[in-house]
């Protein structure tokens, strides 16, 4: 076998999450004939913003999932020696690492600006004639193919960008035609009429916005790929690592914090919230007491304490961890857990209020009068009628959690410093902001990627809320 798969803790949870989502999607397909379940989702995708942002979020998710598939490659060994056990590299890689191996391997010495051909700082360079010259040395990889960067660079960049655009357009046209062909087959129409309908914006769903977003994404990816083959398009950081690569790797961290935290807190919030609201009495008192107490502890303090605890544990038991990646992963998981512990109270309070209201609603009373048991009342009458709240809260919380990670890593109680994350990138860039000329690219790159993700998530959350909130629906 050329590789051995590695499943980290967070990977396992991501696979679990994907399985859950697949189950839910399967259930959704089964419920297609259930009007009340299908209608809100149709409303989400009927909106242009919903369509475009879901494509964008889809891109982030694909990158995140690619970065989740971890493995270790086989080391090169002399083929003759069969008896020795196969040895694998200690380094844990992901699919994303393999795809972007060019970016990962093209290390420079230190800072370099985006698209630069020279380092950012002057160094003493030994000339061929033996004299020392203090100048900006050429980069090992960035723009190394140019003979005279000062003259050729602009044209070269423009040329490569144009080539990337052309490739991107070609691929988008091909993939979109493929998609249209598949849709036409599914609908049993001719390809021409399907295409005309989509381009004219007819039909229930605004496919053309999704397709436009997809085309823009494909073009951008290909331009970036074309340019980053020869340049560091977002510069390099202090140790010469490509910043573009770092931001791509950070996507997984951001997504994990946003989703795993939810996964952790959801069962507690659902169970306790509904129980408190439905049973009232002393159960309500106990649950309210717990979350009021938890809410009154400053969240940052709790997180700092928990992370410190974990650090002490990890340094005392260093031999339990096979690699740095595992250590960083455990810390990430722990961060998700602790963020989950501090963030379930909001949803719990919301669900308690809603259940308090629902238990007095006449259909619940009617069910009680018919002798239906508590568990059935909760699962059949209460739970389905609070799900819209749960969904709205989860989508709204997502962007908040992504931002929280950045803030926590910035104050050093977030993810492991060795892990790629937007917070760590910003933290690292903070020290260089005082430099003159300023090193701005790490900060900008992290900001742009995080901004796009959070903006898309927020817009999507708005659409979801509009579609699921029954009050907004009747207000039209």
């Amino acid at each position: 076998m050329p590789l051995i798969p590695v499943v980290l803790w967070t990977d396992a949870l991501v696979y679990l999450l994907i399985l859950l989502i697949l189950l839910i999607v399967g259930f959704a397909l089964y419920t297609v004939r259930h009007e009340h379940l299908r209608a809100p989702w149709l409303r989400v995708f009927r909106s242009r913003v919903g369509m475009a942002t879901s494509v964008l979020l889809g891109f982030y998710v694909v990158v995140g999932v690619l970065d989740t598939v971890h493995f270790r490659l086989k080391l090169d060994q002399p083929a003759t020696d069969v008896s020795t056990p196969i040895r694998y590299a200690p380094e844990v890689l992901s699919l994303l690492d393999v795809i972007t191996s060019g970016l990962r391997e093209r290390q420079e010495k230190s800072y370099s600006a985006p698209f630069a051909a020279h380092l950012f700082v002057k160094e003493a360079i030994e000339q061929p004639d033996g004299t020392l010259l203090r100048d900006y040395p050429r980069l090992v990889h960035g723009g190394a193919h140019l003979d005279d960067p000062a003259r050729q660079r602009g044209l070269d960049i423009a040329w490569r960008a144009l080539w990337g655009v052309l490739q991107g357009l070609l691929i988008s046209v091909m993939s979109l035609s493929g998609l249209i062909w598949m849709m036409a087959r599914a609908r049993g129409e001719s390809v021409g009429s399907t295409r005309a309908a989509i381009l004219a914006g007819r039909g229930p769903l605004p496919w053309r916005y999704a397709f436009a977003m997809l085309a823009i994404l494909i073009v951008l990816i290909l331009v970036a790929a074309e340019l980053s083959a020869k340049y560091h398009i977002m510069g390099t950081d202090k140790v010469g690592e490509d910043v573009f690569y770092q931001t791509l790797k950070s996507i997984r961290t951001g997504l994990l914090i946003g989703t795993l935290t939810t996964l952790v807190m959801l069962p507690a919030a659902l169970l306790l919230g509904i129980m408190a609201g439905y049973f009232r009495g002393w159960i309500d008192d106990v649950i309210q007491y717990i979350y009021t107490t938890l809410n009154s502890i400053p969240g940052v303090l709790l997180i700092a304490a928990a992370i410190l605890l974990l650090e002490v544990y990890m340094s005392n038991n260093a031999d339990q961890f096979a690699s740095l990646v595992e250590r960083a992963d455990l810390r990430l998981l722990f961060l998700c857990l602790i963020l989950g512990v501090t963030s379930w109270t909001g949803l719990c309070r919301l669900l308690r209020g809603e259940s308090l209201k629902l238990r007095e609603v006449e259909y619940v009373q009617a069910a009680t009068a018919l002798g239906v048991g508590h568990v059935t009342v909760i699962t059949r009458h209460i739970l389905p009628n609070v799900m819209h709240l749960v969904l709205i809260t989860l989508v709204l919380d997502f962007s908040g959690l992504v931002l929280a990670e950045a803030v926590l890593s910035y104050v050093n109680i977030g993810v492991d410093p060795s892990m790629h994350s937007w917070g760590n990138m910003i933290n690292g860039a903070r020290l260089e902001l005082a430099r003159d000329p300023v090193v701005w690219w790490s900060l900008t790159a992290a900001f742009v990627f995080m901004f796009v993700l959070v903006l898309a998530a927020n817009l999507f959350a708005d659409v979801v809320r509009d579609a699921f909130d029954p009050r907004l629906r009747t207000a039209l």
């Binding site: 009340h36 379940l37 006449e362 259909y363 009617a366 009068a369």
Partner: protein, 677 residues
């Protein structure tokens, strides 16, 4: 016909659409209406007929998607539809004012009522010499608020519903309007409060000479307050007449059916007339008469030609082909009879009184503790139900009557242990139900069922109708297999007059009346012996109410069900009930057979309640006993007889002790010191 001069408001050909222009809702089509100075004109119709839209169009307060396509609205010489928004704003609240159905939501909860009236005074009272504060007091006095100097500083939550509606009226009066539009001003209020507010409107009209456009669905309110009326159906006015003429002989088939579907004592042994179907959706395009589909005297012509206005000799105008003088048939002969089917005689021989009661309630108490402070100490009790006793026999209906907040609903829920009673005894056949726990109660769930007021809230919107009806069958393990349940559900749907295909649909696909049928089917599924009906028709339109009442009566005749019918509607009581218990502040004040109570009420409260009910027939109208004030809070009840602070006949003894039960006849009990005399 009067001269043109005193016509205050003239609406001609008003056509309004709502929503997407491609698929508009034609909410108003060619509405003509005129209103003279000092006149009360009622706009009558079922929900969804465009009554409120008419009012909003007159005020130019249509929702953003609404547009006026044609017609004119003239207030004296001003064409309201041509005014700019700034000019219109001076007319609104100035020359014409509006009051709404819900006084609770129409007042700002964080402003004192004095400030809110003062705001209206400042906006519209320019040029008046009296300062705003005095004017506010004068207005509050005018609308009959006792002790206005103190009330000025109070906030809306400190006032009762009737008081809030008075404040709304005071605000509307601030600009001395020529026209007051009252959109269902008393629908949310109790009958005694309704009588107060309607009396106030009448007074004000006489004093100030303003015209009132009263929008309502209640024929009784119209009969008692309006001079003229216009009947609306599906966005059109179909009949205009003076009130006296209309109630003597309604012209349009819709008006006639509406009248005959009213429940009343003299229809007790017959079925109520029903209008089949429902008000059509206003999104469709109409051809011919809009009522043709539901009309039993429709001719083929009604389905294709839109009828024109026809004036009748009596002064009525009717939009119906039946009155076309060119038609050969004299219209009078084709008038359908009001009594459409011979009534089924009451087949209750086996369930007459004297047999053992099915349910015997003695001294039922439901108290809710009031918690205060950090440690949630109990500082008081809400005496929602305080010692209610009655018997319920199989095949008979006991009506529980009273105003909101008197504990009717709590009594019903207490019987079924949906609210845990604090004391008393509920004996079902030979078993004491009070004190049974959730599990122990289960065997009796089968026999005792409940139907709720709001059929929209009574069904889980996420369940299929079939599952909803089958829920009890499943929970009580009556039919274990799905197939058996499905068969039974189909039978039940058939029983309540619905197609069995309804089982595979969701509740939101049905109209209010159909939903209430489904709720009845759900209650019937477990073959109960007793059903608590908690105002099952008060959320429904008159014609639909008739359908449900007929159904309930049929089911009682066929299945021998006992009903505890909780209601505030005396007309329904007189139609359906065998016995009546009148509740006031958690206690039954009078109990007797329906004839005894309705014909000869003994308790002063019962008398006042009955006199406050608006009656269609002027010969049956009683002189109004106006009750002052509102029902006291069940937390802090008056000493002695709870009713004495409002009682017009209170004597010294009433203040000292709660009157004992007085048995006047075999079936009749009264709690009043005066009943002895």
């Amino acid at each position: 016909m009067s001269t043109r001069d005193d016509v205050l408001l003239r609406v001609e050909g008003l056509t309004v659409q709502l929503g997407d222009p491609a698929r508009p809702a034609r909410v108003l089509e060619a509405v003509d209406l005129s209103l003279r100075q000092g006149e009360t004109c009622a706009l009558l119709g079922e929900s969804g007929c465009g009554k409120s839209m008419t009012a909003l169009s007159l005020m130019r307060l249509l929702p953003p998607s609404g547009r006026v396509l044609g017609g004119s609205v003239r207030l004296r010489d001003t064409d309201l539809l041509r005014l700019t928004e700034a000019e219109m704003r001076r007319v609104r609240g100035g020359r014409m004012a509006m009051i709404f159905q819900e006084p609770q939501t129409s007042l700002n909860p964080v402003m004192s009522v004095g400030d809110q009236i003062g705001e209206a005074v400042r906006l519209h009272g320019e040029g008046r010499r009296a300062p705003a504060a005095e004017r506010v007091l004068a207005l509050m006095k005018a609308v009959g608020i006792p002790d206005p100097a103190r009330r000025v500083k109070e906030y809306p939550h400190q006032l009762s519903g009737g008081m809030k509606q008075r404040i709304m009226i005071a605000m509307a009066l601030a600009g001395d309007p020529e026209l007051l539009i009252a959109d269902e001003p008393t629908t949310a209020l109790d009958v005694t409060i309704q009588a107060q507010v309607l009396g106030l409107l009448k007074d004000l009209r006489q004093r100030s000479g303003m015209a009132v456009l009263l929008i309502t669905h209640d024929l009784g309110v119209v009969a008692e307050t309006a001079d003229r009326l216009a009947v609306m159906y599906a966005g059109q006015i179909v009949e205009t007449a003076t009130t006296a003429e209309f109630f003597k002989s309604p012209g349009h088939p819709y008006s006639r059916r509406l009248m005959s579907s009213l429940p009343a004592a003299d229809k007790r042994h017959a079925r109520l007339a029903v209008i089949p179907g429902r008000v059509p959706s206003l999104e469709r395009v109409f051809h011919g008469c809009r009522f043709a589909e539901r009309c039993d005297s429709a001719s083929p012509r009604c389905h294709c030609d839109e009828p024109a206005w026809h004036r009748l000799s009596s002064g009525q105008s009717v939009r119906c082909h039946l009155f076309d003088p060119l038609e050969n048939l004299p219209s009078q002969e084709r008038r359908p009879g009001t009594q459409d089917r011979p009534g089924t005689p009451n087949q209750l021989a086996g369930f007459q009184r004297g047999s053992e009661p099915l349910l015997r309630v003695r001294g039922l108490k439901v108290y809710f503790p009031i918690h205060r402070g950090v440690f949630r100490r109990v500082v008081g009790q809400v005496h929602a139900v305080d010692g209610v006793s009655f018997d319920l026999h199989a095949g008979r209906t006991l009506a529980l009557v009273g105003e909101s907040g008197c504990g009717k609903t709590t009594t019903g829920k207490g019987l079924l242990q949906l609210t845990v009673p604090s004391g008393g005894s509920i004996r079902y056949q030979d078993t004491e139900l009070n004190g049974l726990r959730h599990r122990q109660m289960r065997p009796f769930r089968k026999d005792l069922q409940i139907i709720f007021q709001d059929p929209y809230a009574a069904m889980n919107p996420r369940m299929l109708v079939g599952d909803l009806i089958g829920e009890g069958l499943q929970a009580l393990k009556i039919h274990a297999t799905r197939a058996a349940r499905e068969r039974r559900v189909a039978e039940l749907l058939e029983l309540v007059g619905m197609d069995s295909s309804a089982a595979a649909r969701y509740p939101h696909e049905f109209s209010g009346g159909q939903r209430q049928r489904i709720c009845i089917a759900r209650a019937l599924a477990v073959e109960p012996r007793l059903i608590v009906c908690d105002e099952p028709t008060s959320a429904l339109d008159v014609s639909v109410q008739a359908q449900i009442l007929n159904l309930l009566k049929d089911l009682q005749d066929r299945l021998g069900l006992a009903y505890l019918f909780i209601t505030h509607d005396i007309a329904v009581v007189s139609y359906l009930a065998h016995a009546v218990a009148v509740m006031y502040l958690g206690r039954v004040v009078e109990h007797g057979s329906v004839d005894e109570i309705l014909e000869d009420p003994r308790h002063p409260y019962t008398r006042a309640l009955l006199s406050a009910v608006p009656v269609v027939d002027p010969t049956r109208r009683r002189s109004l006993i106006r009750l002052e004030g509102d029902m006291p809070s069940p937390i802090d009840r008056p000493q002695g007889c709870h009713f004495h602070p409002r009682c017009p006949q209170a004597i010294a003894a009433c203040r000292n002790a709660y009157p004992e039960e007085q048995r006047l006849s075999e079936s009749r009990l009264v709690h009043c010191w005066l009943a002895l005399a």
